[in-house]
């Protein structure tokens, strides 16, 4: 580590940005002996995956209003005129909450790199479908999706015939990549999964909704190949780290927490960290780049790794973060003996299910409900994260979805909303790009599920920095730096 001026060192790599990918790169290089300067133009960690206190959220919204670039737009904060909001730092609102399947490659890397020890993982509990009221006297309701065989047997929500259909599908998915099953779905590989479910399993709308909800597909049109992969991963993740849950969520703000832990591992390995320092200008020579930072420092590096912040081809999404004054207890009940109390629940509002005055939703709306166990809000409150595809009225759709959901959770005492943060996020580019000494990692994913594909770009960047013949088997495999003492009796 250079304790002198940062301008005196010829850095092996300057990493700009502390989003998930750049932070994982820092983690992967933390034992490489490379000279690493890790900067971020923001004064917080996590980039597009950051978690904000209410105060930070406010300055973020203010800043977006003045600078018209990047992936975020149309951000606004609404505080209804009700009491109950706690102090700003009691909240940690995630900009891009993602669920992580227990069998995700990300978790394997966090375990093999030992970084997982500093992250508190929480269980994601039930997935629910929102049901519009049937008659004028009726209330909307939530139906829990059965997602294991035991669940399917015991549920009373679906008919015996539907149960048989669902069981047949679950058996198929568990084995979907075997040669004999592949013949069945390959012709549908690039077609929507709903079409395959219809053609091959003759599923009714309800069952199709169950399956699509498990994929968290934002437009509901996920391809058969991608969809089967996700449902398979969901089913095989169930029970992997304990009974009753298939996915996890890091406490205190999700991916943001992983970024911070990865950056800390980078620092412990000797990397120098500077927040509030972006790249003002650069000059490229044959084998080094000179960067002028917004902090005024001038630094030289052999390689620059950034995150691509340009807008990609795929559609944008609308997001609404709402703090409500209720623990929403019924959403977070564990359904299996010995299961950890879940802190996250998922509710899907299928297309057309929004029946309050106004247009119905044409795309699904997904809601992640987070209990105070996530550390994102004080006791007695919850945070709801709503996402849907951007349409001319998606903001209004999200706001009506929130109202409908709250009245479905507790019709007797409809929880009140204390705070709302709305914004739209454009999709980034999906490929990394190497141009001389500059490597741009892809933009942040809009997916509501951690997408392992993005991890490959980090691994490629690691290879580029480490250089020479590197062994993939050594990637992210570290021993604990300190003796581990899980046991209080020595």
């Amino acid at each position: 580590m250079a304790m002198g001026s940062i301008g005196d060192t010829l850095w092996d790599v300057v990493i700009c940005g502390t989003g998930l990918q750049q932070s994982l790169l820092a983690l992967s290089l933390s034992r490489s002996g490379k000279n690493i300067l890790h900067i971020d133009p923001n004064d917080y960690y996590g980039g597009a995956e950051a978690a904000f206190s209410l105060q930070e959220a406010e300055s973020w919204v203010d800043r977006l209003a003045t600078e018209d670039k990047g992936l975020f737009r149309s951000a606004s904060i609404t505080k209804p005129d009700v009491v109950g909001l706690s102090f700003p730092r009691a909240y940690s609102l995630a900009l891009a909450p993602q669920l992580i399947h227990a069998r995700s490659e990300l978790l394997s890397q966090l375990v093999s790199s030992r970084a997982y020890r500093q992250v508190e993982f929480l269980a994601v509990g039930s997935f629910y479908i929102f049901k519009a009221p049937v008659g004028p006297e009726q209330q909307p309701s939530l139906v829990r999706i059965p997602s294991t065989r035991e669940d399917v047997f015991s549920t009373t929500a679906i008919s015996a015939k539907a149960k048989r259909g669902l069981m047949k599908f679950l058996r198929f998915v568990l084995d979907y990549d075997s040669p004999e099953q592949r013949d069945a779905w390959k012709p549908f590989a690039d077609k929507p999964l709903v079409d395959f479910l219809q053609e091959h399993f003759k599923m009714d709308t309800e069952l199709k909704t169950y399956i699509i909800t498990l994929t968290l597909s934002l437009d509901g049109r996920i391809t058969t190949e991608d969809g089967l992969f996700i449902v398979h991963r969901h089913l095989t993740s169930m029970g992997h780290f304990g009974p009753g849950f298939a996915a996890l969520y890091p406490k205190w703000g999700g991916i943001s927490e992983i970024a911070q832990v990865a950056c800390r591992a980078g620092a412990v390995g000797g990397a120098v960290y500077m927040l509030g320092a972006g790249i003002k200008s650069m000059e490229t020579a044959t084998d080094e780049i000179e960067l002028e930072l917004t902090s005024g420092d001038k630094v030289k590096t052999k390689l620059l790794v950034r995150g691509d912040e340009s807008v990609g081809d795929e559609p944008s999404i609308s997001r609404l973060v709402a703090v409500v004054d209720s623990p929403l207890k019924t959403l977070f009940e564990s359904t299996v003996d010995g299961a950890p109390t879940p802190c996250v629940a998922v509710v899907a509002l299928p297309p057309g299910s929004l029946t309050t005055p106004g247009e119905a939703n044409t795309d699904p709306v997904y809601v992640f409900a987070h209990s105070s166990g996530t550390g994102e809000c004080p006791n007695g409150q919850s945070v709801l994260y709503l996402s849907t595809m951007v349409t001319p009225n998606s903001k209004e759709i999200l706001s009506r979805s929130l109202e409908s959901l709250l009245s479905a959770v507790d019709p007797d005492r409809v929880p009140q909303c204390l705070y709302q943060l709305y914004y739209e996020q454009a999709a980034g580019v999906k490929q990394s790009r190497l141009d001389g000494l500059i490597l741009d990692l892809p933009g942040p994913s809009l997916s509501l599920l951690m997408d392992d594909a993005s991890l490959n770009h980090v691994r490629e960047a690691w290879k580029k920095v480490v250089g020479g013949a590197v062994d993939d088997a050594e990637y992210m495999v570290f021993t604990d730096r300190e003796p581990v003492d899980d046991d209080d009796y020595e």
Binding site: L110, F241, R264, A267, V268, G270, Y273, D488, E490
Partner: protein, 236 residues
């Protein structure tokens, strides 16, 4: 380090280190944890955290001591560093006035970022460089070699720092990581100052009626069921 007495309730306490570079933060920890001291120690890299137990008459406190890993240099410590810290050691070098100014900044930062109930100890290190000590003129850690010839390099009076500490409600000690003077006392004082009610994740005897935090049953263990069984077996 086997404790042959009947096991007492044991709790983990996260303690964060703060202070200007080269004031002797890591040296204090090294003295506390290993009863060791290294002259001209290199700036700290490679240590994420160290643990050390502190035995009190009625309970055992297990300190989990988080080092800054050099991230104090550009004030780039992440929220996860401060979060849930129940104690902080803010260190200055009592031969270096700027280091107390810096320490005051860190106290303000803790008051802004950390949990409201955090126990903060202000520690003036390198007491061995002053005439109060038995007179060694070598630096007491942190790699600062600017020892003065007079035998008293003190630039910050005890009264000044103490008055500030009292004003802010901080514990206050002057230490020498080099001689070990007052080092254990700092940690014992912190351990005593941590309110019983804020102790979480208590395990072992007493844990069952100490109201184990709900976080324990929510947390998922990525070590897998094997380790989980071992832990349960141990706590029986």
């Amino acid at each position: 380090m086997a404790d042959t007495n009947a096991p007492k309730p044991s709790s983990s306490v996260k303690l964060v280190l703060l202070g200007e570079a080269a004031v002797g933060k890591s040296s204090l920890v090294l003295r506390f944890v290993n009863n060791d001291f290294q002259e001209n120690k290199e700036p700290t890299i490679g240590a994420a955290f160290l643990t050390q137990k502190c035995n009190l008459p009625t309970r055992t406190i297990k300190f989990e001591i988080w080092d800054t890993a050099g991230q104090e240099r550009f004030a780039s410590l992440a929220p996860m560093y401060y979060r849930n810290a129940q104690a902080a050691l803010v260190v200055y070098d009592l031969t270096k006035p700027t280091s107390l100014i810096k320490a005051k900044h860190w106290v303000a930062e803790l008051q802004r970022q950390a949990s409201p109930g955090i126990v903060i100890a202000l520690v003036g290190n390198k007491l061995d460089l002053t005439s109060d000590s038995a007179g060694s003129a070598e630096a007491s850690g942190g790699g600062d070699d600017n020892a003065e010839d007079s035998g008293d390099a003190r630039k910050i009076s005890t009264d000044e720092a103490k008055a500030y500490a009292e004003e802010e409600g901080l514990l206050f000690f002057e230490t020498s990581a080099k001689t070990g003077h007052n080092v254990t006392e700092v940690f014992t004082a912190i351990a005593n100052a941590i309110p019983e009610t804020s102790l979480k994740s208590a395990r072992g005897p007493g844990a069952s009626h100490a109201g184990v935090s709900r976080t324990e049953e929510q947390r998922v263990n990525l070590n897998g069921p094997r380790d989980l069984d071992a832990k349960e077996g141990c706590a029986c």
